[in-house]
């Protein structure tokens, strides 16, 4: 083997790799030690802080200056300092969300995003939601009109209704919905682990939607009960997509405002003084309530349609011919109940959000 004069020899290369490996090991050790030391100091400071805030609130004297200082300390702890949200470093508050535990495992799920990546994470999350909202609006719009046209043509006995490919497409769309809600829930869980204040319900909402969509997918597309319910669901999706776009716009604008204000805690609930998009909210809240009312109506409709079938005694233990539509009717009942839970949960969470914003 010939070496050009400036090249390193193989022995030197071995050495270089050894040194690099040792340095990596050192880096890993130091990082871990640093993180542990910082973590336990942060925990101690926080315990002290919490107990002082509590006792100060309990005593409830007019002497507010101490409390004000304590609240300032809390703000720094929660992310207004140069180090961002210190809770992330804490060794005690780290609890792995259940979904991450089941899908990724505890070990991976414990991983925290590096501070400088957290903002990007949130931006990416909004980008994902924005793209999804487009699909949410356009695909069901096409499916809905296609299916309506097919029903009309079939009623008139015409050919070329395209209903088989449309139903396959509807099921593919349902599969996409499963992907969408799983991914959304994963991303939100990761955001929560990194300091976001997303209300638990919005994540539970996605879990219920996954279950709902899977039940919907198992129902035979030929059945009458399924047809009636799924057409309503499809049009509901169009509306939801439109509102989601609006919600995205409001929330991502809020994020950019926070960045512009030089806030270090990107995952913060914005307090009133700096809250942009109050106007947005004035449109968003009524739209959300209207959507929830509609969702509730669709749910009640499905439940009333199928309750008789669901509570009848036949077909639980023995097969009934599929022409009775019993099985799909029961599936629709389950979907209706899940939809009702979603409508109520969304309503309560939106109300809770309004109240907590008003309190600030």
């Amino acid at each position: 083997m010939t070496l050009s004069p400036e090249a390193v020899s193989p022995a030197e290369l071995v050495n270089r790799c050894r040194v690099l490996s040792e340095r990596v090991a050192q880096h890993n050790r130091r990082m871990k030690a640093d993180e542990q030391a910082l973590g336990s100091e942060i925990d101690t400071a926080y315990r002290e802080l919490r107990s002082q805030i509590e006792s100060s609130r309990d005593s409830g004297t007019g002497e507010d200056e101490g409390l004000e200082q304590l609240l300032l300390a809390k703000k720094i702890y929660e992310g207004q300092g140069p180090g961002g949200d210190l809770r992330i470093m804490s060794s005690t508050t780290k609890k792995t969300p259940i979904m991450l535990k089941y899908l990724l495992g505890k070990e991976t799920a414990g991983v925290l995003i590096r501070f400088d990546q957290r903002l990007k994470l949130k931006q990416e999350y909004f980008k994902f939601r924005h793209a999804a909202a487009l699909i949410f609006t356009i695909v069901p719009l096409i499916l809905g009109f296609g299916l309506r046209r097919a029903t009309q043509m079939e009623a008139m006995g015409e050919q070329g209704s395209l209903s088989p490919p449309l139903w396959v497409a509807t099921q593919a769309y349902a599969a996409w919905l499963v992907y969408f809600y799983v991914s959304l829930a994963l991303r939100e869980n990761i955001l929560v682990m990194n300091g976001s204040d997303i209300r638990a319900w919005w994540i539970h909402h996605h879990y219920i939607m996954v279950l709902f969509t899977l039940v919907l997918m198992t129902l035979p597309t030929e059945s009458k009960a399924f047809k009636i319910f799924s057409e309503k669901f499809i049009f509901f999706n169009v509306l939801q997509g439109l509102i989601m776009m609006f919600q995205n716009k409001y929330q991502s604008r809020r994020l950019y405002r926070q960045i512009a204000l030089g806030r270090n805690k990107t995952m913060d609930v914005v307090s009133t003084e700096s809250s942009p998009g109050k106007g947005h909210l004035l449109v968003l809240y009524p739209a959300l309530f209207a959507m929830q009312a509609l969702q509730f109506a669709v749910a009640i409709d499905a439940i009333l349609y199928s309750a008789n079938d669901f509570f009848s005694e036949v077909g639980w233990l023995d097969n009934v011919p599929s022409s009775t539509d019993l099985r799909s009717s029961r599936g629709v009942f389950v979907c209706g109940v899940l939809f009702m839970i979603l409508a109520l949960g969304n309503l309560l969470s939106t109300l809770a959000t309004i109240f907590s914003k008003a309190k600030k």
Copy 2:
């Protein structure tokens, strides 16, 4: 507010939080700088190493000592040094697997596990596979016998066949399969990002299985084509579960052997000298081939059963009554084709593994 003499004052607490926040910021900056510096040095060393290995192989002279040294350097680079697998630190080789990009997003997916957590990650992965293999064996066994009993009872016109709850349970099992394969693929992708040499096919296998299971879920359970195919699939699962347990045992034993040998690179392909479980492999290979042959047979069966229906012209653009069984037969055809792809891919990958092990 009264303070006990030893308590810190609110102002001190504010200060403590400020200092901690500044230290966290410093820690983050240093970590990032260190990682970048190490990463680029590692990349330079590796480029040098690779070009020397190539030119040494090309020249092909008998002078093997240099080459041996180079290969030693490569081993250190790939994880035999104290720093573990240096590739993980490299800034260039990091490519986010597509599944992680779509489910978690680029920003999260870029996250690497800390070195001391990587071993735990792999152990957890085996634990997950082990638990899943149990479900894989037991649940389909119960379902399979239950469904067989139901078919017999229905043929004889008896009551209490329990077939409706059994079919619902089968669909719930299918939903569990979707979860299992998604989680497995996620975990394996994360292992790959952290230096594991898992062959890409095993991960693609899981993607195809997700698609397969989703198609299966959309088929009406009353249909004859579905019944015939799914009963075979259920019994195939039992066999697969048993083999998976055996495979787990072999692979996790290999992992513990590696740990016992004090290897730093836990994600390594074991080279022959330290390879335990050669005996295991002598049982495992024939079992795998047998399973692949069976999978192929099930696939061919499904394809032959449904090919006529699939290629007939009716029912693509217009609805046909569900009594024709056309839709499910076509679904079974798709499942059959996917199953065949899986059988072939598994066979080829197993052969490739055998060859690459023989070469070492």
